[in-house]
């Protein structure tokens, strides 16, 4: 399947509803902590528990965060938005309603650019983003016949970001999701932790014959919380729908759940069974009024976004486009890179090569995030500096880096303790070169007869003799001079 067209001439149409948990210290309508992983119900106060008489008070920080997202995706930030109650009964929903936004959301009409399968930039419309509170969760483990409820998560602020049905393949859906993931983390408005459920999505998936204007009936895939699952679930659902239609059946509008163990989607409830949520404006909360001044102040406080940063890295540091893209994929990585180049006179591209190459490799190998890197940006700069000032060669540097990663100290410590300092003394190199020429008269003759490629053989020999510590440039030059005869 490529670019949304299945082999059989179907077009895939996908819209995503992303739920991003906002990184506030306290809940959206109460002062309870939002920290993850506390003992059940230790972070639920009377407001979260929905006690009689309590009232919600808006945490203004969520308004600032939603405004940041709105500005980042070039959306309209509503000067007036309204909280509404979404009414339904469930034990993890203490008030019997969820405070959300329906008719007047805080953000509308945004856009996000992704790269499609052909490498072209594609604009994905963002219909809206609205603020709402999360529910608690039911606990069944460790309780015999009964269910428990943990309300720690109840009242955690969420920003639900709804896309237009502009995505045409599972890959595009993942690209969009990743882009949004990068943005919310850049903005610092969500930690984006998918394993903890801080960033998850529902996907509305439908198919239609290529060229048909009208949308097919959609199924909603609930609670996809990893990039892999999103791609997998969508592809499986697309296949299911196409098979169903090709076999003469029809897709029904329903909510489906992706089972990653069985690798299938299953019906949760049909449209007929869907709740009537009886939304109405929440009389306990005033409309959120936002001034132009507020929006301008937020705009001024906005961090540089990935796209801008990428352009700057190319312009300012003369990085290759791909490298700039990789380095700006996350703010901590970009910050790390900039910290390295701030501490070295070497060219930014060399620093970039190290961050993208050996450092990323080591992080990947040990399953670490950049924030947990065993080699700090300052330490890596120290290593790059030693390459830059010819203390060591790039090749030796790899050895030094590994030692640094293993906790053997700074670049200088490792170079000193292992005696890896580069030999730049010409007379010393000359002595070795003379020795190699003397020992390999046959190859010397062949070289002089025109077999230039043999220079590599001689360099290798010299490096072997010097344990790789001779300056490669000098070795090359001296070898060539002496081989001329």
């Amino acid at each position: 399947m490529s670019a949304g067209v299945s082999k059989s001439g179907w077009e895939v149409v996908i819209g995503l509803e992303i739920h991003a948990q906002l990184a506030t210290k306290s809940k959206i309508f109460s002062g309870s902590s939002t920290a993850y992983g506390a003992d059940p119900n230790t972070q639920a106060n009377l407001v979260d528990l929905g006690y009689p008489g309590v009232l919600p008070v808006l945490n203004k920080e969520v308004v600032r965060m939603a405004t940041m997202l709105g500005l980042a995706i070039n959306a309209t930030v509503a000067r007036r938005s309204v909280f509404a109650r979404k009414n339904y009964f469930y034990p993890d929903l203490p008030k019997g309603y969820q405070i959300s936004q329906l008719e007047l959301p805080i953000v509308e009409h945004g856009e996000l650019y992704i790269t499609d399968a052909n490498g072209n930039e594609k604009c994905i419309g963002v219909t809206r983003a609205h603020l709402e509170e999360d529910a608690g969760k039911s606990i069944h483990e460790g309780l015999d016949a009964s269910s428990g409820i943990d309300l720690n998560r109840a009242g955690t602020p969420l920003l639900e970001i709804v896309s237009e049905p502009d995505l045409r393949s599972a890959k595009e859906a993942v690209a969009y999701m990743k882009k949004m993931h990068t943005i919310v983390r850049y903005l610092g408005i969500s930690d984006g932790n998918m394993a903890e459920g801080s960033f998850r999505c529902d996907a509305n998936v439908s198919v239609r014959p290529m060229g048909q204007e009208e949308l097919g009936t959609r199924a909603e895939l609930k609670n996809l919380n990893s990039f892999r699952f999103i791609e997998r679930a969508i592809n499986i659902e697309v296949e299911r729908q196409i098979d169903l239609i090709e076999d003469g059946g029809t897709v029904v509008q329903e909510t489906r759940l992706y089972d990653s163990d069985k690798d299938e989607t299953r019906s949760m409830r049909s449209k007929e069974e869907a709740n009537d949520y009886r939304y109405f404006p929440d009389p306990d909360l005033l409309p959120v009024e936002i001034t132009d001044e507020f929006i301008e102040a937020v705009r001024k406080s906005m961090p540089e976004l990935p796209a801008e940063k990428q352009t700057r890295f190319i312009d300012e540091y003369r990085l290759k486009g791909d490298d700039a893209s990789i380095l700006t994929a996350s703010r901590p990585l970009a910050d790390y890179f900039e910290a390295v180049i701030a501490a070295t006179d070497a060219s930014p591209q060399i620093a970039a090569n190290w961050v993208i190459g050996d450092l990323a490799g080591a992080l990947n190998r040990d399953g670490l995030e950049i924030a947990d890197s065993k080699v700090t940006a300052g330490e890596l700069a120290g290593l790059v500096n030693r390459i830059h000032d010819n203390t060591i060669s790039g090749k030796i540097a790899k050895q030094v880096f590994e030692a640094m990663w293993d906790g053997e100290g700074s670049a200088d410590d490792v170079i000193e303790s292992k005696g890896l300092k580069q030999i730049t003394d010409s007379s010393a190199i000359e002595a070795v070169v003379d020795k190699i020429i003397a020992e390999n008269s046959g190859q010397v003759a062949e070289y002089r007869a025109g077999k230039d490629k043999l220079i590599g053989f001689f360099v290798g020999k010299v490096m072997q003799e010097t344990k790789g510590q001779a300056n490669p440039g000098q070795v090359n030059k001296i070898l060539k001079d002496k081989l001329k005869g």
């Binding site: 929905g50 006690y51 009689p52 008489g53 009232l55 919600p56 008070v57 019997g96």
Partner: protein
């Protein structure tokens, strides 16, 4: 004069002069309640030991020359205000054994002013009712005639003040629940501007209409108590951040030149003729004191009852959802599954009137009906508010009857919800428009009290209280005490 007949203001002076102690006062009132409340059923909970302890503390504080505005003064809370450590039932089986872990802001403020709380008063279940007959704990009786209703939903508070169990009580008013019982028991009832008093800790019925207020015997006492209760509360987003005036400072001022509006529709066929006569007499008294009257038009006021009975049940249906038997309140035994748990906990925990409003509210918010009912009602509500705004361009106050008739007999209207709802026909407009309004005793019809209704513009409480106080300087209806409770 017997101590129980004294107003809050007189008791404050008595305590200050050392004529009696708060402990003695509290004991006297607790004795009255113990011996007389069997007749009224005005209390759900009497907090005797707590009250005596608070009185003793107040007496101590007074010795040190300190003490708040209500130091040592007795008061009763409607059982809708959450009180830490004391049951808060809302007149419902659902909360029969509910003990709140926190105090409502109103309760906190009144406690901070040094008041002594005698107990929690009976009320219509979750404040839904106009006769006090929907209470799970049985109806409250009217001190003036025990077979009659005291009105509702703050019927226990009104009956208690009328029966001289206490000089003051708190109440809440969503469609008339302070003013109608005040009128029917011959007491003063004030519902402030929406947002003037915090709703935090007051169990919600219809959040956009609910407002806490006071029931007393004199306007002066109402001013004193409101001053303590009012003010911005950061825990209630709908409370308004505006300074609280000294309501007592201006009540002595003349009402000469006060422009008083009269709404024609308030004197039409729905009003009991004799009640109309008393109200007109009262207006004549205001005129005699220098007020000028003119007719004002509220063209949409006739729509206030149907509008209210869409908006209030809609909000109620959502507000009642938290009573699901999961975390607190009544819980049916041995539920088969989750649905059975909900159906039986709520089916058994709520009374008929609450269920009726939940069903009505659920209906008007349903897909396909929302626009026709809820949205339309909100538009009419806006029209009614606009009508009042225009009227207040010409007048300082609007006056009329509080209720269409004096107290009716218990049982008379329980089977006819529409007749019951019409009891609030004159009071609901103020809730829909968020305006302050007050009922002041203005005479009797067949030995039953009648109330004069005063409505002011937003934050017009000072004018209401001044007008009420000046009227009470000229009249003595509020001094009359029911025979059984003298």
């Amino acid at each position: 004069m017997d101590i129980h007949l004294k107003t809050l203001t007189e008791l404050a002076a008595g305590l200050e002069n050392g004529d009696f102690s708060s402990v003695a006062l509290t004991e006297a009132l607790l004795d009255r309640i113990a011996s007389l409340d069997d007749k009224l059923n005005a209390f759900v909970t009497v907090t005797g030991p707590e009250a005596l302890a608070a009185a003793a503390r107040a007496d101590e504080v007074r010795k040190s020359g300190k003490g708040g505005l209500l130091n040592g003064l007795p008061i009763i809370h409607k059982d809708i205000f959450c009180t830490r450590g004391v049951k808060t039932t809302c007149g419902s089986k659902m909360l029969e054994n509910f003990i709140s872990p926190y105090d409502a802001t109103v309760v906190e403020k009144i406690a901070a002013a040094g008041a002594v709380v005698l107990g929690k008063s009976n009320m219509d279940e979750f404040a839904m009712g106009s006769s006090n007959e929907t209470s799970y704990f049985g109806p409250v009786r009217n001190p003036w005639k025990l077979e009659c209703s005291p009105g509702g939903s703050s019927g226990g508070s009104a009956a208690s003040v009328a029966a001289r169990f206490a000089p003051a009580a708190t109440g809440t008013d969503t469609g008339g629940s302070i003013r109608q019982p005040a009128a029917l028991t011959g007491t003063v009832g004030l519902k402030p501007t929406y947002g003037r008093v915090s709703r935090y800790g007051m169990v919600a019925f219809a959040s956009s209409l609910d407002q806490a207020g006071v029931i007393t015997r004199s306007s002066e006492d109402a001013a004193r108590l409101l001053g303590v209760m009012a003010g911005f509360d950061e825990r209630d987003s709908t409370s308004i951040d505006q300074p609280v005036p000294d309501y007592l400072a201006s009540i002595g001022d003349s009402i000469k030149g006060l422009r008083v509006g009269i709404v024609r529709q308030h004197f039409d066929a729905g009003l009991d003729q004799q009640t109309g006569v008393r109200v007109k007499d009262a207006i004549a008294v205001l005129e005699s004191m220098g007020a000028t009257t003119l007719e004002v038009d509220l063209p949409n006021i006739d729509l206030s009852v149907p509008t209210y009975y869409v908006v209030a049940p809609a909000e109620c249906s959502s507000n009642m959802s938290r009573f699901d038997g999961v975390r607190f309140g009544y819980r049916a035994d041995d539920a088969e599954d989750l649905l059975d748990h909900y159906c039986r906990s709520r089916g058994e925990g709520f009374g008929d009137e609450v269920k009726r409003r939940i069903m009505t509210g659920t209906y008007v918010l349903s897909a396909g009906y929302y626009d026709a009912y809820y949205l339309k009602a909100q538009r009419v509500r806006q029209l009614i508010a606009d009508d009042f705004r225009q009227a207040f361009a010409d007048v300082d106050l609007i006056v009329g009857p509080t209720a269409p008739s004096p107290a009716f007999k218990l049982g008379d209207k329980v089977d006819d919800p529409i007749q019951m709802y019409l009891n609030d026909i004159y009071t609901i407009g103020a809730n829909l428009a968020g305006l302050p309004a007050m009922s002041v005793p203005c005479g009797f019809v067949n030995d039953m009290p009648v109330g004069l209704h005063l409505v002011g513009p937003h934050f017009g409480e000072e004018t209401l209280l001044r007008c009420g106080h000046q009227y009470q300087q000229q009249t003595d209806w509020h001094l009359a005490c029911p025979e059984t409770f003298k």
